[in-house]
Amino acid sequence: MTELVWLVIALPLAGAGFLHFAGKYLREPLAGWLASAAIGGSFVVAAVAAVPFIQGGEHGTAVSLWDWMPAIGASMEILWDPLSALMALVVTGVGSLIHIFAIGYMHGDERFHRFFTYLNLFAASMLTLVLAGNYAMLFLGWELVGLCSYLLIGFWFTRPTAAAAAKKAFIVNRIGDLGLMVGLMLVFTTFGTLSYTGIFERAGDELTSGLATAIGLLFLVGAAGKSAQVPLYVWLPDAMEGPTPVSALIHAATMVTAGVYLVARSASIFELSTVAQVTVATVGAATAIWAASIALAQRDIKRVLAYSTVSQLGYMFLAVGATAYVAGIFHLMTHAFFKALLFLGAGSVIHAMNDEQDMYKMGGLLKKMPVTAVTMGIATLAIAGIPPLAGFWSKDEILGSAFERGGWFSVLWIVGLVTALLTAFYMTRQWVLVFLGQPRWDEGIEPHESPRVMTAPLVILAVLSVFGGLINTPLRLTLEHFLEPAFELVKLQHPPEGVGMFILLAGLSVLAGLAGAAAAYLAYNRSSDEWRGFEGGFEPLWGAWEKAYGVDDIYGRVIVAPGKRAAEAAAFQFDIPIIDGAVNGLGRVFRDLGEWARPIQTGYVRNYGALFLAGTIVVVIWLVAGGA
């Protein structure tokens, strides 16, 4: 089955190709089901191909497809190892559910088939990214997911905000990609190849720690762009302009985790540089608490989730920075489950509320949408870290690993703990605002539960959110054993050993989660005047959070506006008047010379004749005088 693993990419790609050309001839749901079938088939292939890893003992194989750029050792090759298999399973599994959900969500959109074309293209790109056998192909997938993200954020292109958000996402990502690209230049110059196997096997012997730091930091720039870490996270909240299934699939479950995957994949390089590790972890922790604090005060249901995603990605960075790669990947997986569920639930709510996204105008939806409410409730508990739901196990493993690493990481552990408290608070706040209390809907809105095609994925994801964490509990480290072959070249960071320490640390984080949840419940399960008063008590902090610290504004004023002014100066004050002016000036010099010499040409033939004769006489005198 391993030789056929290219099918994992090829199926959604074929789906996208088919839908691109034939989609407009298909009736509405058919295009969606076809796309879902493509990615579902991909999931099946991946699952079957992953069986050897589950059985254990397999290290993974590289499947070579074709040469791409031989001069830099880049070819199309797939590395099928436990890490890529797990990523492929998450992408195709969660992806299939979101595809199905989207059939209901996108109902009635005039570009229905186009949406599924892009979704399938995205799936293929993401799979290319995770299955790549070398950095060049990873970069291929890396950029293609950016493209799909661009296309899907800007899917409703008539909305100027959506188009602007799409462009912003792509450009900010590109800034990060610049770092990745320079990192790849460095890697190629160092190793003479971009192939994983070639690099990782030699990294330990040939890579100096200075070079490893440089590469690691450059990779971090790329990862921070794609995974929305400080300071490049600003595109992700805006990306919520896209249709909600897009937010769920791309901006929560899969694409944004690519940065985590990149760091995990490059573990052998990060292994050699403590500086890079600490930087990654610090960036992660800073992002976690920064974004969580912003999420506290958001009113838009999707923006809360967006900042929550940024924050949770920070956790994953903290994990991989602490070399707890398994914990990072574990959290990546559980987060995919519950965040996708939250987004889909939010989508269900938005769908029911006629595209209303302001939580302050919701409330009391529990009775109207029980399935959505319950499943979202489960996800909320999961992300808040309440045992035994999925989020508890993965988050706890991250925090434990950071604690065990000690030193600076202890500080990061405390940051993580505080973030856990904030997470529980804003998630509970969201759930309470949306589903409890009095209805605060606008006139004419009649919420209703979503159709089966939308709720079924919710239920499946809810089940995964409940039990997904059980694959890697301290009692039974199934995931760790599964991933071990992929990380055999590096030393993995683990949480502290022993039941006592586990209970102590878990207790602390559960306590933080419960405290946050309880506070939010108490603060928000009241009349709107009361919680508005509660929010006012935090001014001016609350205002800063609500405006996301005004970072967009600052970027606009510090980078974008001066940049544009500089470009305008270059174009209109330098290029045209100075450079082109010099060229035209040279032309003018000759024109003036001509102007000066012009009167000689009187136009009178007799003048010319006289001058001609004079010239002849001069020549004759010269000849006679023996000049020649």
Partner: protein, 510 residues
């Protein structure tokens, strides 16, 4: 064989010119039909070309023995893709010219003559006939811009002509100097490239000659700061003119640098690495920055050419095999993507008679297919992996890093800037609600227009995913040029993978 490649367009031009002027409906279709013949022949040459170094299909006839001028033609992996690209773009450019009503016959004739000249430049292995073709191209292009251009066409045409002719005048002096040096050292005048490559030039003279050639080609490329004729020429030229200008004419500069400067003056080339590299990188960043704020779509694409061609020059002077191959394949890529972008802007212009970005908005609504093609080509131009632009730029950047790390890192920022100017332009032109009434009911692409764009789009994908169709044939020749430079100059090219501790300090970029 190769002579026929040059003669076929000339014959086609003669045939078209024999059709009476009043049968104007025949000229264009006949021109397109006849322009397919060189394409077929070029396709055969491409197919029959062996992927080894050295020239193939050589034709060598003494033309004027006392001066050592020969009708010497040959093709190698560097010129082969350019010839195929030229023959491909000409029928497409003609196909995009249906809106030309005025003096249509002359237009077709000039375009076909232009094709002959361009092919001649790429095939010539004798500096004399190279120069003749190099200059001959200016004439039809001058008329194409000057007769069928838009408002300031005469200004643009004159500027284009004088600017480029100025550069080549110096090159002519250089060529003559080389021929006489040959007479001095070997006893007879010769203009043959292979003869002149054997010359033993004193380094001072070599530098002067390098400068003369480099200036001519730099203007053609165009390299910062001699680029200002390009936006004017592009903006004023008709669609076909822009397509051929961007697609092929600019490549004469990069091709010339690669073929003549590196081969004839290897030592001076090595000495000039920093000058050329810095100019290239300044061009990359500067062209992109200036492109961001251009109000006119064609000017925007024109400045993007300045930026993209900087990559080619950087790759040429980086002296690693990756960068060299990247430079050659980027020649083709830029021709395809920028040519396609000019085609697209031209199609838009035919519908709205304006190219100003501010005049548009939301036209994706009425022209989804057009928007799709535009976005596709824009991303190819941005350098999205999987599309052709990436292959060239990535090879150049990765290759250049080994020898010019700082420049490569700065050049990489051009990739970000490309995304800014193209996507911002896309946003302003295509997205949002079409507010202007004339933007609301634009006709989407016709079958003819799709047929023009589809082959280019297909090539973008094929080269992006399987560049070996070209790289296989390019690599040996690029390697040969590199070997020649190394041999003549004693340059030591660092081998990737053996540098672990050399470049630590250069890794900053975050």
């Amino acid at each position: 064989m190769l002579t026929w490649l040059i003669l076929l367009p000339v014959l086609a031009a003669i045939i078209v010119s024999l059709v009476p002027s009043r049968r104007s409906e025949l000229h264009l279709s006949l021109g397109i039909a006849l322009a397919v013949l060189p394409l077929a022949l070029a396709g055969y040459v491409f197919w029959a070309f062996e992927p080894v170094s050295g020239y193939q299909f050589i034709e060598d006839v003494t033309w004027y023995a006392p001066w050592g001028i020969g009708w010497t033609l040959g093709i190698d992996g560097i010129s082969l893709p350019m010839v195929v690209l030229t023959t491909l773009l000409v029928p497409i450019a003609l196909g995009a010219s249906t809106s030309i009503e005025k003096r249509r016959k002359e237009f077709v004739v000039y375009t076909l003559l232009l094709e002959a000249g361009m092919i001649g430049v790429f095939l010539a292995l004798d500096l004399f006939i190279f120069f003749v073709f190099f200059e001959a191209i200016l004439i039809p292009m001058y008329f194409i811009i000057g007769i069928w251009g838009s408002d300031r066409r005469v200004y643009a045409a004159v500027k284009f002509f004088i600017y480029t002719a100025f550069g080549s005048a110096l090159m002519l002096a250089g060529i003559i100097a080389l021929a006489f040096t040959h007479a001095e050292q070997f006893g007879s005048l010769s203009f043959a490239l292979s003869d002149l490559m054997r010359l033993d030039l004193p380094i001072g003279a070599e530098r002067w000659l390098f400068a003369a050639f480099a200036l001519a080609f730099a203007i053609k490329v165009p390299l910062f700061p001699v680029h200002t004729w390009l936006p004017d020429a592009h903006t004023e030229a008709p669609t076909a003119g822009s397509v051929l200008l961007a697609g092929v004419l600019l490549k004469l500069g990069t091709y010339g640098l690669l073929r003549f400067n590196l081969s004839l003056f290897p030592e001076a080339s090595v000495d000039a690495v920093w000058i050329m590299g810095i100019l290239a990188v300044v061009g990359i960043v500067y062209g992109a920055v200036v492109a961001i704020v251009q109000p006119d779509l064609k000017r925007l694409v024109a400045y993007s050419s300045v930026s993209h061609l900087g990559f080619i020059v950087l790759g040429t002077f980086a002296f690693t095999s990756g960068a060299m191959q990247g430079a050659v394949i980027q020649n083709v890529n830029h021709g395809i993507t920028t040519g396609a972008l000019f085609l697209l802007v031209g199609m838009l212009y035919e519908r709205r008679h304006t190219k100003l970005i501010s005049e548009f908005g939301g036209i994706q609504k009425s022209m989804p297919v057009f928007a799709g093609f535009f976005l596709f080509m824009a991303f190819a131009s941005i350098g999205l992996p999987g599309l052709n632009g990436f292959v060239g730029e990535f090879l150049v950047l990765i290759g250049a890093y080994a020898t010019l790390p700082v420049l490569a890192v700065i050049a990489a920022s051009g990739v970000v800037l490309a995304a800014i100017y193209l996507l911002w332009a896309y946003e302003r032109v295509f997205t949002g609600v079409p507010e202007k009434p004339e933007n609301q009911n634009l006709a989407d692409l016709s079958t003819r227009e799709v047929a023009l764009l589809a082959p280019l789009a297909a090539l973008v994908l094929v080269i992006g995913l399987y560049p070996n169709v070209l790289l296989d044939k390019i690599a040996p020749s690029a390697e040969a040029v590199l070997d020649h430079v190394v041999e003549a100059s004693g340059l030591v090219i660092p081998e990737p993978g053996r540098l672990a501790d050399v470049f630590v300090t250069d890794g900053e970029g975050e």
